[in-house]
Symmetry: C2
Subunit: 348 residues, 2 copies
């Protein structure tokens, strides 16, 4: 973060026609975005682009969700046809959508808005063997980095994370447990809506997977974050971590969606701690793992609407707040320019 640009934006905030500090979280956000861009004011955050990374999960075989695996591919088709929740909300807030097949089990036919970059047709079952080999995890990371670069080259000034993958809250909880050291029981939620027996099984599955693979990274997951990702992550988690790293490298902010993004963000921060500077937590997911991860990353979510859908819905809803925080710097008058009297301290 560039300290000079941040100081300049703080000084500009004080001259804009509003009481000091009255825009609350938007003011600090605009200062951080200035630091990221090393420019005051930072560039307007438009166009905005959401990438939805889709992948399947071998751990689905363990009965961690009542949804059939085919739903991943079916929802990819739904995104491409514009009929999912995230499509409607993205139209509301003016965000473009790209779908990236980084690991869907089924074949996904080519279509407008689809990037076909399948690394493999779903991960392996983490309770039996590592979900990915190290080369596979790295290849998926590269897909995410390349996606970020392509979108920024295409003009995007802010990126948003989206995801689709039946069973991916299981992989997310495993990754979050590994990186935070918190028990699986604490970071595992009810995902898209499971019953209590399924939840118990889900926690037990994650415990088994971490017991099996934990020795690979000894006591410290930060010594080899890719080992954690390969063992218990998903192809979309790897791609999302790369997407975040790619955005940070280009000094472009990335708005995180929910628990899948939070797991990927922990991975990205473990690989490159400074990537945290580019991360904005869009919302507070209902999933407990999301809060644990954001807290470790010291990120405060902007919205809290009880969402637990994924797809990027929370990031898309947060976008106007983030973009608005920068827009005021560009478009507001100053006390001088507007001829508005400022607070008279003598009269207090």
């Amino acid at each position: 973060l560039d300290a000079a640009a941040m100081a300049q934006t703080r000084e500009l905030q004080a001259r804009l026609t509003k009481p000091a500090g009255s825009l609350g979280e938007l003011e600090e956000l605009s200062v951080r975005l200035s630091g990221l861009a090393a420019l005051s004011p930072p560039p307007m955050l438009e166009p905005a682009h959401l990438a939805i990374f889709a992948g399947d999960h071998g751990v689905h075989a363990q009965g961690v969700t009542p949804w059939p695996q085919e739903v991943t591919a079916q929802m990819v088709a739904n995104f491409l046809a514009g009929g999912a929740a995230v499509n409607a909300l993205a139209r509301q807030t003016g965000v473009a959508v790209t779908v990236v097949d980084v690991g869907v089990a089924a074949d996904v036919p080519g279509a407008d808005g689809l990037v076909s970059a399948k690394v493999r047709a779903g991960t392996r079952d983490m309770t039996v063997e590592p979900a990915m080999t190290r080369p596979e995890a790295l290849a998926a990371l590269e897909v995410g980095i390349a996606t970020a670069n392509a979108l920024v080259d295409g003009g995007a000034r802010v990126l948003l994370t989206g995801d689709m993958g039946i069973a991916n809250t299981t992989a997310s909880a495993a990754v979050i447990s590994a990186f935070t050291g918190r028990d699986p029981g604490v970071v595992t939620g009810y995902g898209t809506g499971i019953d209590a027996p399924t939840h118990r099984r889900k926690v037990e599955v994650i415990e088994r997977a971490l017991a099996l693979h934990g020795p690979a990274w000894g006591g410290d997951p930060h010594t080899d974050p890719v080992a954690v990702l390969a063992a218990v992550g998903g192809l979309e988690h790897a791609a999302l971590a790369g997407f975040i790293l790619g955005a940070a490298a280009r000094r472009v902010p990335v708005i995180l969606d929910g628990v899948i993004a939070a797991a990927a963000a922990l991975t990205a921060a473990a690989l490159a701690p400074s990537s945290r500077d580019a991360m904005i937590a869009g919302h507070e997911s209902v999933e407990p793992g999301a809060s644990v991860a954001l807290s470790q990353l010291e990120l405060n979510p902007l919205l809290s609407l009880g969402l637990r859908l994924g797809e990027g819905t929370g990031a898309v809803l947060a976008y106007p707040v983030v973009a608005g925080s920068v827009r005021v710097l560009h478009e507001m008058a100053t006390f001088d320019s507007a001829g508005v009297a400022s607070k008279d301290e003598h009269k207090q």
Copy 2:
């Protein structure tokens, strides 16, 4: 609220391609909006229109704020020139802006986007006499009703509240204290940023005004809400209460901004309890009176961003969430139409 339309929207929500309940607060909001419109799905919430009601306050003479009174008129000019925070944020979220002079002390020259409807040039000092006569308060209420009707006739499908008036957090706290029975010390905040001695004076000014006028409504402010409004309210509070009543009468939702809107909403609900059905609390203001008022109205604010600016900024930022909650009903595919398998309860 129309129960049949609400039931129909609940049933539609269950068929859309997402896990049941996963859109959190947006789902219940869409159900309530269906009840208000008596239609499922309710109409898309566009175009959206913000009305900023501006007025001055005689109680300014009591030293409740360090800002000079001229700032009200200067900020009106700033709104009309498009240079205030609310203008920038309204451009971000696609909301049109109208300014209504219902009681600015200074002359406000005519301009595009301005409605000149001055009832009087600022209120009287509530510590000395009632801020308004009853006819003045009713005239200002009528200005708000007429504004709502004109905007809805012009096509608006959702209205947003905005306000400008130096010292209007003092009038707001007095109105909120009267309608909720909570002590002035509990509902009075730091407004746009005052120091501790000014805050003590502000509380004491409100206590004096309520002691002077309280006998006019005996023990129960709900028997004569206009008496409360006239005694300690502002012209913009009266107009906002009318604006809310006008929206409710047209079955059009109205997104409330901060503490000034909350005081007006209490007044509207005292006059016509069913007007509450049309109210949506846009955000949780830093002002303590706002939370007290919303809690009495049983309204949950959508956003919590530490805002304390007013103007309508919080309402404008909440607009995409509200509009998005309805848009998903119109634009999302159902499990059947998209060929997406639903959750298999047998596998759980």
